[in-house]
Symmetry: C2
Subunit: 353 residues, 2 copies
Amino acid sequence: MKLRQLFAALVFGFTASLAQAEIPWTFQPLPAEPPIPADNPQTDAKITLGKQLFFDPRLSITGTHSCNSCHNLAAGGEDGRAQPVGVYGRKGRRSTLTIWNAAYHTIHNWDGSARTLEEQNQGHLLDPNIMGMPDARQLVDRFSSIPAYRAEFKTVFGKEGVSLENIARALASFERTLITHNSAFDRFLAGDKRAISTQAQHGFEDFIEVGCASCHFWVNLAGPQPGLAMQQGEGFYELFPNHPGTDYESRYHLADDIGRYDFSQVKTDIRMWRVPSLRNIEITAPYFHNGSVKTLAEAVQVMAKAQLKYELSQQQVDDIVAYLHTLTGRFPTITVPRLPETSNRTAVAGHDD
Amino acid sequence: MKLRQLFAALVFGFTASLAQAEIPWTFQPLPAEPPIPADNPQTDAKITLGKQLFFDPRLSITGTHSCNSCHNLAAGGEDGRAQPVGVYGRKGRRSTLTIWNAAYHTIHNWDGSARTLEEQNQGHLLDPNIMGMPDARQLVDRFSSIPAYRAEFKTVFGKEGVSLENIARALASFERTLITHNSAFDRFLAGDKRAISTQAQHGFEDFIEVGCASCHFWVNLAGPQPGLAMQQGEGFYELFPNHPGTDYESRYHLADDIGRYDFSQVKTDIRMWRVPSLRNIEITAPYFHNGSVKTLAEAVQVMAKAQLKYELSQQQVDDIVAYLHTLTGRFPTITVPRLPETSNRTAVAGHDD
């Protein structure tokens, strides 16, 4: 038994080949419902409102960008780009993370700078490179000027009505419905051994043995999460690159961005990054925080080398990629909402030229 | 009888108040189906493909803009801005026209520079300020590299497969389903006299008497259209401003843009503009080719003065606005399509940073 296998056996109680062994308990199918915070319960009216807001470009100062502009629900919940383009053609700092299954994360953004979807939404709305709203006041004034929105906010949030916090809450409630369960891997975990190919099963074995599964585990393949058995505080971070000085590091500028440190100013956070989910990873290229790696096969090799100091064979790469393909879930059908209209006038007046 | 009423009586056979008279035959409910060109018949597969393309930001060079980015189907089929924002933060030249019911137009774009939806689509794809595709080749290469699209194009268009023309054709087929019939005014025209308020009926009378109906008539309130009884050649243009030198002209820079002339280089086309539809006009502010007028009431006054040399009373403005509100139709339910994915890689590679 190789050392790596021994490690896997210790961590995951995994010794024989997958066909005979139990699947490690650290892998579980994605539940149909994500954790719902006590201070923002789901209601139908709130989800409806959140969906309208998600598709509403008036959330951006210029009226040009909705959440869906970058978190494209017709696709992988992101934009297929290295860096997003926000208002005024400005670039976002890091590659867009998918909104699909984001509801299962302990932490949001690459640097964990938001602890909840609500926080993440607020941050993006006020980010000058994304939605560009200069302050909560302008956002609230604009949405309060749209009668049907005003009425909806009152129904959902009572007297408090339209506020930055309530916009973020409604958005988060809708985002908690953006779940892609029932992937082939989920069906495999649930007992259907034929749900994934033999090659994908080999890939899953490699994924565990090589060490990918040390971070990419649990229901969202992104480490532990809150409200569930494996809670581990405020989030799950890893050093990246873990093994400095690889060719990949310079080729893809992996160490240029200082990661969570820039946000926290805590020295131990230098180049610490949240562990991203691998669900739907097949359709969310390009990869990494800077979107520098264009293909999934290359991303797998970079991770093995820079994180685990492991040189994968071509066969292993192919197998792991085949496994990763099984993480693409079933996407819910979403109807395009009708947005509350401002009769006779534009709500972005003053920011529309 | 005022001269204007006499004119209306001559043109529309309209003498008494609306309550007693027949509604002028030049007003007809919007048919459920628009004219379909013989060389681009509707098929379910083509409409499905066109819908995917309509929502696909990969049609833009940067992967940031879909047709829906500016022609927002969650709203009035446009962007609520004076000028659209295309790729690289570039501004489009003129205010976005709604895509709803565009299928009924004889001519497209403010200057009539496209005679069909197919032509319009091609133009927008290659416009450096809109989708920014440098040439057909890059567009075709990109979409040919997406296996599911390649297969769909083959099914729909046979051997010809992916081409600029076929992308434009599929888009046009989907756009021909974007119809908002059954507005209150349509129900009124169909015989339900209670479908619109008394104020709106007064507004409709004013609309005819004042002269708005001289251009804004027929099913799309945009003048005659092809394939129907009132065909009048290649399109329907009017001089704007018709009465030069008004205060409005300078305040809203109405005469700065030279209109169709810039496209046709024909002297008689100086400041000639296509007559835009008034359907859903309530929700498509700001108004005019330069989006300079922020409210519908102001737009009505500008039109009366600059086109008809007529000073409307406040009551007339209110009544006409009430009438224009009855032109907001019923919007079809549209599901967000699933876009064909590029497994493992991004299709916008090379244009994504």
